[in-house]
């Protein structure tokens, strides 16, 4: 029960501070479940995030469901998801009930412009860490560059990128095992 409440509050906080899209949650997710609580490793977060992007639904919800399930099964995935949607439900209900000219409030636009700068700083450091880890072997470097170029320059769907990189992983694994087998024979 304690873990379920903890999952809810962690994802409530992430929902409350992830403004402007799913990638904003990544620095906070890493801080809460990898650095602070050691529930998951960096690699597992990457798996969840990649699969969450390539499957139907909202990335933040997919990731919350994944993390919740890994900790406490179906009950865990439900409380993590409830946590990440709760701030939205409360805030949007209040805004749509009381404000009509919200988009015109200048102070909020200014705050968000500043938040976006902070997010790019946080993402810069996350990306640097990920690339350092992934670039340890050649196939990793190729896949990082291909995925980056695919999204940035060719607008390739994340589904295709995840499917192709999974296939590349399987192929290079099979090749590696074949080489090892041949070396043993020699």
């Amino acid at each position: 029960m304690k873990n379920l409440i903890q999952l809810f509050t962690i994802f409530f906080r992430i929902g409350l501070f992830s403004i402007g899209g799913g990638y904003v949650m990544l620095p906070m997710l890493k801080e809460e479940v990898v650095n602070k609580r050691k529930w998951l490793t960096d690699e597992e977060i990457l798996d969840f995030y990649a699969i969450g992007q390539a499957t139907p639904g909202i990335i933040a919800v997919n990731t919350a469901t994944f993390v919740g399930y890994s900790q406490k099964g179906i009950a865990g995935s439900l409380s993590a998801t409830a946590g990440i949607v709760a701030p939205s439900i409360i805030i949007i209900t209040l805004i749509s009930a009381f404000f009509t000219e919200f988009r015109e409030v200048l102070i909020i636009q200014k705050a968000f412009a500043g938040i976006r700068v902070a997010v790019s700083v946080l993402l810069l450091f996350i990306v640097a860490g990920l690339i350092k880890k992934g670039a340890k072997y050649k196939t990793g470097v190729v896949i990082i560059l291909a995925a980056f170029a695919g999204i940035t320059f060719f607008k390739v769907s994340p589904v295709l990128i995840v499917a192709a990189s999974a296939a590349a992983g399987i192929a290079s694994g099979a090749l590696r095992r074949k080489i090892i087998r041949q070396e043993k024979k020699l």
């Binding site: 929902g15 403004i19 402007g20 899209g21 799913g22 990544l26 801080e31 990457l46 798996d47 990649a50 699969i51 969450g52 992007q53 390539a54 499957t55 139907p56 639904g57 909202i58 990335i59 997919n62 399930y69 995935s77 990440i84 949607v85 701030p87 805030i91 949007i92 209900t93 009930a97 919200f102 988009r103 102070i107 705050a111 968000f112 500043g114 976006r116 700068v117 790019s120 993402l123 990306v127 990920l130 690339i131 880890k133 992934g134 990793g140 896949i143 990082i144 291909a146 995925a147 980056f148 999204i151 769907s157 990128i161 995840v162 990189s165 999974a166 296939a167 992983g169 290079s172 099979a174």
Partner: protein, 182 residues
């Protein structure tokens, strides 16, 4: 009846939106704007508010549209609708991954997916950098470079390099700096 309709409508949107909250936009446009359920102004309001408030954009839009259609329960039911496909699909995948965690093909596939995720996150980082620090495509008439945002970027970057600390601190610092200086 309207509640049931809302649930089905947002269940479908959750099921067909792949690639994040903004992927729900064309589906929402079809379900709300093209069907005449919302006026153009209401639709623009929904998108603007959802982008500028905390929480995943897709969830914010579902809550907003549900609330406008059927009050507080409408907001709850639309949100339940949009997250249900995620819950079902991800639980199935997570279960599969647990059962086959030691399978070499699953391991190899994940070894390929991890660097791809790193590349996709780098692309997202560049995108947000291009919309906050140097304006790649927003407001081109206002100039593509803002000294203030660049200074804030460098300042926060140097601070993070030496101090690290909780990301929430940086988000709040960014908000405060935005209100005062930008």
């Amino acid at each position: 009846m309207i509640h049931f309709e809302l649930f089905i409508m947002f269940f479908k949107i959750g099921l067909f939106a792949i690639g994040g909250g903004l992927a729900t936009l064309p589906l929402l446009k079809e379900a709300l704007l093209d069907s005449g359920r919302m006026s153009h102004g209401e639709f623009i309001d929904m998108v603007a508010i959802s982008q500028a408030t905390p929480g995943p954009i897709g969830i914010n839009m579902a809550t907003y549209a549900g609330f406008k259609a059927a009050g507080v329960t409408g907001g709850l039911i639309a949100t339940a609708g949009i997250v249900t496909p995620s819950l079902i699909i991800i639980i199935l995948i997570a279960r599969f991954m647990q059962d086959y965690a030691d399978n070499s093909i699953v391991k190899d596939a994940l070894a390929g997916i991890r660097p791809a995720a790193a590349g996709m996150i780098a692309a997202a980082g560049l995108y947000i950098f291009g919309n906050s620090v140097v304006m790649f495509d927003l407001f081109p008439s206002a100039g593509w470079f803002s000294l203030k945002t660049a200074a804030l970027f460098v300042l926060l970057g140097i601070f993070y390099l030496f101090k690290k600390g909780n990301p929430v601190f940086y988000l709040l610092a960014g908000a405060a700096a935005g209100i005062i200086f930008l």
